[in-house]
């Protein structure tokens, strides 16, 4: 029943999509029928281009994402634990926060060129702030009696960081990481649309330029599915890690 209720809306949209294009309510140039898109997808899988481009996009995005996780946790934790560090870093965070990271794409092109680095850096910058802020808020919000408890048992300050602060802050940190995953896909595609010679975002742009709309839609669907799978997988892992919550 639960599975059915989740799948039903998707099926309805697909049916509407297929029906409206087949019956001519929507121009095929604007929106190819779903079945045609699926045929194009099969073609992209068969000629290996989908796999080849995904194998470019995903690793360089994951590099930026992983770097953001490590650096973001360190920066956020440092801000929560040290007032001087917070005074130093906070203005930078405040300035960087509202800036649309995609505005940096031309600059990153100049600095890091057309290759993987410019995309990894952009994904890193976009994923960094949600992790920094959630880690900072999470750790700063830990009830001090938990720390006092551990200290009175004999735990050192360093041990308290790993044993108490990080696990206590983990629900908030994981929320930030989830936001970062969404940003990763967003910036992966947008950076490749603007500056790339390969990758899934590049494919979308190049296929669109060539007028190969069914194939373009196929790649868009693939990117959506990847993002959905990543988010669903991460949610399932979070639920397992946070099973101690009510």
């Amino acid at each position: 029943m639960r599975v059915a209720s989740r799948i039903l809306p998707v099926l309805l949209v697909l049916l509407l999509w297929e029906g409206s294009t087949r019956l001519g309510f929507v121009s095929r140039a604007a929106l190819p029928p779903f079945t045609v898109v699926m045929q194009a997808l099969a073609g992209l899988v068969a000629d290996g281009s989908l796999w080849a481009n995904a194998a470019k996009s995903v690793p360089r995005s994951l590099v930026g994402f992983a770097a953001a996780l490590v650096v973001g946790t360190l920066l956020g934790g440092g801000m929560a634990l040290s007032r001087p560090f917070r005074t130093l870093v906070n203005p930078l965070v405040q300035v960087l926060y509202p800036l649309p990271k995609s505005a940096l794409i031309p600059l990153l092109l100049v600095w890091f060129g057309l290759g993987d680095t410019s995309k990894s850096v952009l994904v890193f910058l976009g994923c960094l702030l949600p992790v920094v802020l959630s880690t900072f808020n999470g750790i700063a919000g830990v009830n001090e009696v938990l720390v006092w408890s551990a200290r009175s048992m004999g735990a050192s300050r360093a041990a308290v960081l790993w044993d108490v602060l990080l696990p206590a802050a983990s629900p908030q940190i994981l929320t930030g990481v989830r936001t970062a995953i969404a940003f990763m896909f967003l910036l992966m595609v947008s950076s490749e649309l603007v500056i790339a010679t390969n990758g899934l975002g590049y494919m979308i742009g190049a296929l669109g330029d060539r007028g190969a709309y069914p194939a373009m839609f196929a790649v868009i669907l693939v990117v959506s599915a990847l993002g959905f799978a990543a988010d669903a997988g991460f949610q399932a892992m979070s639920a397992h890690w946070l099973r101690w919550r009510e």
Binding site: W148, S152, M153, D163
Partner: protein, 271 residues
């Protein structure tokens, strides 16, 4: 009254402690003014007073969680300079690690004292059984009632065998029936272990029922207004709560506390 002077007899020795703090956008507040208090070893001492009298602050100073500004606090282990495993604490809101099971909470405390493996496991189980949580070893705190969480917290603190047990309104968050049962059980545990206990409460009957001696504290700035010695905790009388002597003592202590509450109100009205 036991002599507090000799070194061996020291449980907690508080000398001329004054504590001030500055709330954000506010004038400096003197939370504790020149407090001196000796608690002999093995005694159950209650800090009793209206809310805002600084009794929890005093407990946190003994625990070493906040630094002593003026005066000094000593235990048998020496001057208090920070938290230490010889001073175990139980908080009102339990302070269990919610991501650990009951047993993992107790085992964590034992591991901090270097106890691991099957020996730690047996010891953890012993204290879990003692607080009647047998069968809930694998439960997370969120799955337990408030009373059960507090039992787990008490087991965790007792497992490390501290010389001094600091308790910050430990039963304040529990319903009346559970509180009564927990008081009885704590008394049983204390009689068996005879640890030095410093017990913060605003419940007069609780203080008279549990303690050897009670410090009645005045409201801001916190001072020790009067010290009262009682011995109801050593009488093995199930009907103690209806004992006229007990009832009179509760009434007497309540009058002292009420005077402080009234003084606080008058102070607020004047301000």
């Amino acid at each position: 009254m036991p002599e507090a002077g000799s070194r061996e007899a020291i449980g907690v020795e508080i000398s001329r402690v004054t504590h001030r703090y500055a709330p954000r956008n506010g004038a400096q507040v003197t939370a504790l003014a020149n407090i001196s208090l000796g608690i002999p070893r093995n005694q159950f001492h209650a800090l009793l007073g209206p809310s805002g009298c600084g009794k929890s602050t005093l407990l946190y100073l003994i625990g070493g969680f906040i630094p002593v500004q003026e005066g000094e606090i000593r235990t048998a282990s020496g001057l208090v300079r920070g938290p230490g495993p010889e001073r175990g604490i139980v908080f009102q809101n339990f302070a269990l690690f919610p991501w650990k099971t009951v047993k993992a909470n107790v085992l964590y405390a034992l591991a901090q004292r270097g106890s691991r493996g099957s020996e730690a496991d047996q010891r953890a189980q012993h204290f879990i059984d003692m607080v009647h949580l047998t069968g809930f070893e694998g439960s997370y705190p969120a799955q337990l009632s408030g009373g059960m969480q507090q039992r787990a917290a008490i087991a965790r603190t007792l497992a490390t065998d501290p010389d001094i047990l600091l308790m910050d309104e430990p039963f304040g968050a529990l319903d009346a029936q559970t509180r009564r049962i927990m008081q009885e059980e704590l008394l049983g545990i204390w009689r068996a272990s005879r640890k030095t206990v410093v017990f913060v409460t605003h419940d007069v009957a609780e203080a008279v029922y549990l303690a050897d001696s009670i410090s009645v504290m005045s409201a801001r700035p916190g001072r020790i207004q009067q010290r009262i010695e009682t011995d109801f905790n050593n009488r093995n009388d199930p009907g103690i709560l209806r004992n006229p002597e007990f009832v009179d003592t509760v009434e007497h202590v309540w009058e002292l506390v009420r005077a402080e509450v009234d003084a606080t109100k008058a102070g607020r009205a004047a301000a």
